[in-house]
């Protein structure tokens, strides 16, 4: 009886330990692999620290091998969010003043985007007017 209890106890301990170990194992990662992946960036960071004020464009202009030999992600300049991902110019172009108003409101009053929408509206309005007059003329003519 004692043996059975002992074996059961050991088994329970083993099972619970292995169950617990599963989640703990998830917190392990290959540090050396990550260090290798980020090694080029560590060198670049040291260079920037030793050359205060230097920028990426200056390094690219000087053909600095630290950046020219690296596959750089240049997406640090964000593009604005626009309503439904449609360019602001098109909103102004197709929806006129309503489109301009929508862009103004949606982009949190972004001057650049609202100006783009305004230009869309300004360029499309004469075209619509000409098309409207031309259409009316053709309608009356026939």
């Amino acid at each position: 009886m004692k043996k059975v209890l002992l074996i059961t106890g050991v088994l329970i301990l083993f099972i619970t330990n292995s169950l617990f170990a599963n989640d703990a194992d998830l917190f392990e990662y290959d540090e050396s692999k990550i260090n290798t992946e980020l090694n080029e960036l560590n060198e670049l960071e040291n260079y920037v620290n030793n050359n205060q004020g230097i920028t990426l464009s200056e390094m690219l202009n000087n053909k600095n091998s630290l950046v020219t030999n690296m596959a750089l992600d240049m997406s640090f300049c964000l593009s604005d969010d626009t309503p439904m991902g449609i360019p602001s110019f098109c909103w102004g172009c197709f929806f006129g003043p309503v489109g301009v108003l929508m862009v103004w409101a949606f982009t949190d009053r972004s001057k650049k985007q609202t100006t783009d929408a305004f230009w869309g509206c300004a360029i499309s309005t004469p075209i619509y007017v000409v098309l409207g007059i031309g259409g009316q003329f053709l309608w009356n003519w026939y």
């Binding site: 998830l26 990426l56 992600d73 640090f76 964000l78 650049k112």
Partner: protein
């Protein structure tokens, strides 16, 4: 004896209250080294400023190009020469950033105790206390569980899962610094997963200053729209 016990309780209580209220500003030099799924690398360096009463994260970037980034609510503004050049919506609000959570004294569970997530399991293994947080039933098809591990009572790692149980990303909080009683990790490593690919992001913080009373105009950055 009773008076002593009462005094000890009162001192502990007041010291806790004062500590939780004491930290409201953080400033640090930071660098973010990132390698994306596409194998492309990016380095961002500068200073970060955050005041938890103002709730604006201000990044004064010196590299790759001199500019400012200001995060307010769910918006991130890119500002060059005092002009907003772009705006982007962010998935998370500033209250769920490491700066706000650390200043609020909730870093040990990453502020999850203030969220609708609930604890479903607590376990101890390999020197860690591992807590599993489940999303509310209503959002279980949008959010997956979150596992948080603590080492020496400090946040060590967080693992975010998708609703179908896939690991989305892991975050590790390393090399804690103690600045006048304020504990903050010098390094935050994020590993993101996309099918069989991994991307890495290592954020480093140094020269951390707490409750800096200078440069008020940066903490409350005026965004000229």
């Amino acid at each position: 004896m009773l008076i002593r016990i009462t005094l000890i309780i009162l001192i502990t209580l007041f010291s806790n209250i004062s500590f939780s209220q004491a930290f409201f500003r953080i400033k640090a030099d930071f660098s973010i080294k990132a390698k994306g799924f596409n194998g492309k690398s990016q380095l961002t360096m500068g200073k970060v400023y955050y005041d938890k009463t103002i709730k604006k994260i201000v990044y004064k970037i010196k590299y790759p190009e001199k500019s400012d980034w200001v995060s307010v609510d769910t918006n991130m503004y890119h500002i060059v020469n005092n002009k907003v050049t772009s705006r982007k919506s962010l998935p998370a609000i500033v209250e769920f950033t490491i700066f706000h959570i650390a200043l609020s004294g909730n870093l040990s569970n990453y502020g999850l105790d203030k969220s609708p997530f609930t604890i479903s399991k607590v376990q101890q293994s390999k020197g860690m206390v591992i807590t599993t947080w489940d999303p509310p039933q209503l959002y279980s098809k949008i959010y997956g569980r979150i596992i948080v591990s603590n080492k020496n009572k400090k946040l060590y790692g967080i693992i975010f899962f998708s609703p179908d149980g896939m690991i989305l990303r892991k975050q590790f909080f390393k090399k804690y610094q103690n600045i006048n009683g304020f504990s903050f990790p010098s390094e935050v490593l994020q590993i993101s997963y996309n099918e069989s690919k991994e991307s890495y992001e290592l954020s480093s913080f140094k020269n951390i200053i707490i409750n800096d009373m200078n440069e008020d105009y940066i903490y409350d950055y005026y965004i000229k729209k």
